[in-house]
């Protein structure tokens, strides 16, 4: 099946086979632009009793077919070519069903080739179950036991620069050989192992693993310590994902025959669209997908794409782990009313054992969103620790570096430079009020200076990610117009001061002539000024489609991006929430330690942003 030329494509059908639901979307060309037409979903059927992923796909597509009034199915398959208003020009799919792609990675030094291997696997959409390294402090038998216990879908073995160590690589290969791991899917098949290490050790690795595993050799991910070369390894991971993992998953062989484009792991597809948008807009971007079991964070800083999966942070199956990692105190600090510790614990455990329940009262919603803030914060902390520069790189110094010797391996995440923060996942996308999603993103990530906030309306980023591979224009257009719900910019000065001290003066000049929606429409073409004290939050209305010029005058000691106490003028796009002004301080950000005071401040901020309805 061949991929049609982009100019010939007028209709696109895309599905995402998730762990619980399969989502289908139909995109059509309307005039000169591509727009989302309808969306349908059905339960995923990869598990027993169906054990055929295509059943769920067909059900989801059937819903799309009914809603769009367009014939897309021909019996038990998808019509592959659009003719006479029937079928779609191209069908594409992503998948995370059955736990997605689960990998183990190996490296000689954990912080060097180990970390590079981890980045290669994560960027390819895998969940990294463990990193085995020569210096990880575990004894050989512990490593062997771990490999046998985890049973990954695939292993990425790396280590040594080209011409570097072979002894350590041989040792890792021997460990793997001794463990003799079996593939998770498809009993009787050999476990795929990708070797992306020192070229000099290829023979040794082939000798040790050639007969026991489905060994694939590719270019070194770290040919020199000063440079990473992750793409060849990522391509091999995709290939093997298709050849081994997908081919052995129930129904995927049939699914792969329906699409001319390889089925992509869901996280890889989400990362792809974030990367595409950051590149096209020339901005630094962060995307987050908070799910029931895992939280994925994607970032593009200095054109470097990074993805991390926090496998134990989520809002249902992993909610207890959020409590364990964040601590009760950190969760309680976000709840704007007094709550008993026991009560909070019970609510959290209930959510874990009944993962599909949703909050039934305002209090429950506030608690859930408090937990989401902590899950986001922890996932972002993990992301920052992995999205780092290369370690072990030679530095060049001058005498001016005497007292400020920066180390290598510093995080690439620079919130001052962050242009867009996109949230996705039930708790963000389905929040009853968009201001709640904005507030969760702000509290979880603590963006600095001026950052645009958005949420994914119906979680179609995965489909758009795979679409960006074959039709970048359609993917970008649908992403901007139908996928994203713009919440508006967040202005947060860096600095700390005393409560009530003058912090920021803002003037918003709304541009005339732009299309606008909502209650901000009447304010079009006007100017509004506001003065905020430290510890205050406020919102200036600027609707979706509106543009405005923000003039920010921070007080001495506060920085909005131009330097301490310096004014900044910037153009901003509006959103459903408006321009959020957050003068609660950064570096450090602190909530009042006294409970009464904290509850009072939280209520004050919620009221300022109109986050929750008034409690009776």
């Amino acid at each position: 099946m061949s991929v049609p030329k982009p100019e010939d494509v007028t209709s696109i059908l895309a599905t995402d086979c998730g762990s619980t639901t399969t989502k289908a979307i139909l995109i059509e060309k309307k005039g000169d632009e591509y727009r989302l037409i309808v969306r349908g979903e059905a339960p995923t059927t990869v598990e027993a009793p169906f054990e055929d992923v295509t059943k769920g796909v067909l059900n989801a597509v059937r819903e799309v077919e009914e809603l769009a009034g367009r014939k897309l199915l021909s019996g038990e398959s998808i019509l592959s070519k659009a003719e006479d208003g029937e079928g779609a020009d191209i069908y594409i799919s992503t998948s995370s069903a059955g736990g997605g792609l689960q990998m183990m990675v190996f490296g000689v030094v954990k912080a060097m080739t180990g970390e590079s291997a981890q980045r290669a696997a994560l960027g390819a959409g895998a969940i990294v179950m463990d990193v085995i390294a020569s210096n990880d402090g575990r004894l050989p038998h512990e490593k062997i036991r771990r490999i046998r216990q985890l049973r990954p879908d695939m292993i990425l073995l790396s280590g040594g620069i080209d011409g570097g160590t072979t002894a350590h690589v041989a040792e890792l290969a021997e460990l793997l050989s001794a463990a003799d791991p079996k593939a998770r899917l498809g009993a009787g098949y050999m476990l795929p192992v990708i070797y992306a290490g020192n070229v000099d050790a290829r023979d040794i690795v082939s000798e040790r693993l050639g007969e026991k595993t489905a060994l694939v050799l590719t270019e070194n991910i770290r040919p020199v310590l000063e440079r990473e070369n992750l793409q060849p390894a990522r391509h091999r991971i995709h290939d093997l994902f298709m050849e081994h993992v997908m081919a052995h998953a129930p129904g995927y062989k049939k699914l792969m025959n329906w699409t001319p484009v390889p089925v992509m792991p869901t996280p890889a597809a989400v990362g792809k669209i974030i990367e595409t948008i950051a590149r096209e807009e020339g901005i630094q971007a962060i995307g987050v997908d908070i799910g029931g079991a895992t939280t994925d964070v994607f970032s593009v800083f200095q054109t470097v794409f990074n993805r991390t999966v926090s496998a134990n942070l989520g809002m249902s199956y992993s909610i207890s782990n959020v409590l364990a990692e964040a601590g009760l105190e950190n969760i309680m600090r976000w709840i704007p009313f007094r709550v008993e510790e026991k009560d909070l614990r019970n609510r959290i455990k209930n959510k874990m054992i009944r993962p599909t329940t949703i909050p039934q009262s305002l209090e429950e919603l506030m608690i859930e969103q408090g937990i989401a803030r902590e899950a986001l914060r922890l996932a972002f902390e993990q992301h920052k620790s992995l999205a780092v520069g290369l370690k072990g790189v030679q530095q060049e110094r001058t005498i001016s570096d005497t007292f400020e010797q920066s180390s290598s391996g510093e995080t690439l995440v620079d919130l001052r430079q962050l242009g867009m923060l996109v949230g996705s996942g039930g708790v963000l996308s389905h929040a009853p009020r968009r201001a709640q999603a904005a507030f969760m993103l702000i509290d979880g990530f603590l963006p600095e200076c001026v950052t645009h906030l958005a949420v994914d309306s119906i979680f179609m980023m995965p489909q758009l990610g795979v679409l960006s591979e074959v039709h970048p224009k359609a993917a970008t257009e649908v992403f901007k117009k139908d996928c994203l719900i713009h919440l508006g910019p967040c202005v947060a000065p860096i600095g700390a001061g005393k409560e009530g001290v003058e912090c920021l003066q803002v003037r918003l000049e709304r541009e005339e002539g732009a299309a606008s929606e909502g209650k901000a429409a009447k304010a079009k073409g006007t100017t509004e000024s506001l003065s905020l004290k430290f510890g205050q939050m406020a919102v200036l209305p600027l609707g979706v489609g509106e543009r405005g010029r923000l003039v920010l005058n921070p007080s001495k000691g506060f920085d909005v991006g131009a330097g301490s106490g310096r004014s900044l003028e910037t153009k901003v796009d509006g959103g459903v929430v408006g321009v959020v002004l957050d003068c609660r301080g950064r570096r450090p950000f602190q909530l009042p330690s006294n409970e009464g005071e904290r509850v009072k401040k939280l209520s004050e901020w919620n009221a300022a942003l109109n986050v929750y309805p008034e409690r009776k």
Partner: protein, 314 residues
């Protein structure tokens, strides 16, 4: 801290205190005439009171109370912080990039399949910098043993060789890899400064170690060593208390420990409560000294000399 250690510290303190008084006695003795110093045996035998001059030569000199107070304060601070550290209180020690980079440098050598070169300076064992360097060498040896990477230690002074050998051997033992210890890698080159430098340069050019650590007392050879190391593409970490050599290290090395950072290295790397407590105690003592200097300067400016006079050692 156990009782024995407490007693030892108190005994040392008393020794210092008595030393503070001893010169006074000696001076009092020297000021006195021989007749005054020698006891009058006749009057003593007769049961008469002793000579007043000999009574003045006592163990305690009140003019040196200032020293006693300052030494007492120093001991108090050190003991206080050791106690805090031993009880598990986390004592903040700021990040010293150069020391944190030691493991990174060893990691680089491991990935590249090359050795780590450790030069403990060119001074003898009687230099405190060499002793500190040996303590750091122990930590480095432990790390390289864990990473299974060779360690080369060229030595300039013959007396340092057995010390370096034992330190490295112990490091390998502690890491559980005694078999990996290679005594041939502790290399005595020459007692002559530039012959030694030429020898180390030769090692760098021939064996191309991926990480060079220059930690100890260095003089004119510092730039020659660091430049050669840079040309081989190695990560270099240097540290010396000879501040006149620091600019050379700063420009040619990846990381440089500045002055006192070098002495803080042992506490920083080992995280041993007693060492960290001592480091914190001496840091606070420095803060006290700086504060005293500022207060003294201000008081002197306003013509109040009592404080300065009290601090003057007579």
């Amino acid at each position: 801290m156990n009782r024995v250690e407490c007693l030892l510290i108190i005994a040392t303190f008393l020794l210092f205190a008595s030393l503070a008084g001893t010169p006074a006695m000696a001076r009092a003795e020297s000021d006195a005439s021989p007749e005054e110093i020698l006891p009058d045996t006749t009057s003593a035998q007769a049961g008469a009171p002793a000579d007043p001059a000999s009574q003045a030569a006592v163990w305690f000199d009140p003019r040196r109370v200032n020293l006693l107070v300052i030494i007492g304060l120093f001991f108090f601070l050190v003991l206080l912080f050791i106690r805090k550290a031993v009880r598990g209180r986390s004592l903040y020690v700021r990040k010293i990039t150069g020391l944190s980079a030691i493991e990174e440098a060893i990691g680089r050598a491991t990935e590249m399949g090359k050795a780590v070169l450790y030069v403990p300076g060119i001074d003898d064992v009687n230099n405190i910098q060499t002793i500190y360097s040996m303590v750091i060498l122990g930590t480095v040896a432990k790390l390289v043993a864990r990473y299974e990477t060779p360690l080369i230690v060229p030595v300039c002074k013959a007396f340092v060789v057995p010390l370096a050998e034992e330190t490295v051997k112990q490091g390998y033992l502690d890491a559980g890899h005694p078999d990996a210890y290679n005594p041939d890698n502790i290399r005595y080159l020459s007692d002559e400064q530039f012959a030694f430098t030429a020898g180390v340069d030769g090692i760098m050019l021939r064996e191309k170690p991926a990480a060079n650590l220059f930690l100890g007392s260095f003089f004119a050879e510092s730039l020659i060593l660091a430049e050669t190391g840079f040309s081989t593409g190695a990560i270099q970490i240097a540290g010396t208390a000879n501040i006149h050599q620091l600019p050379f290290f700063v420009v040619a090395c990846d990381y440089t420990l500045i002055g006192e950072e070098f002495f803080a290295a042992t506490a920083y790397l080992s995280d041993e409560p007693k060492l960290v407590g001592t480091l914190k105690g001496s840091d606070w003592m420095k803060v006290f000294v700086m504060g005293a200097l500022i207060v003294g300067a201000i008081l002197e400016t306003f013509g109040v000399t009592a404080f300065t006079r009290w601090l003057t050692v007579q």
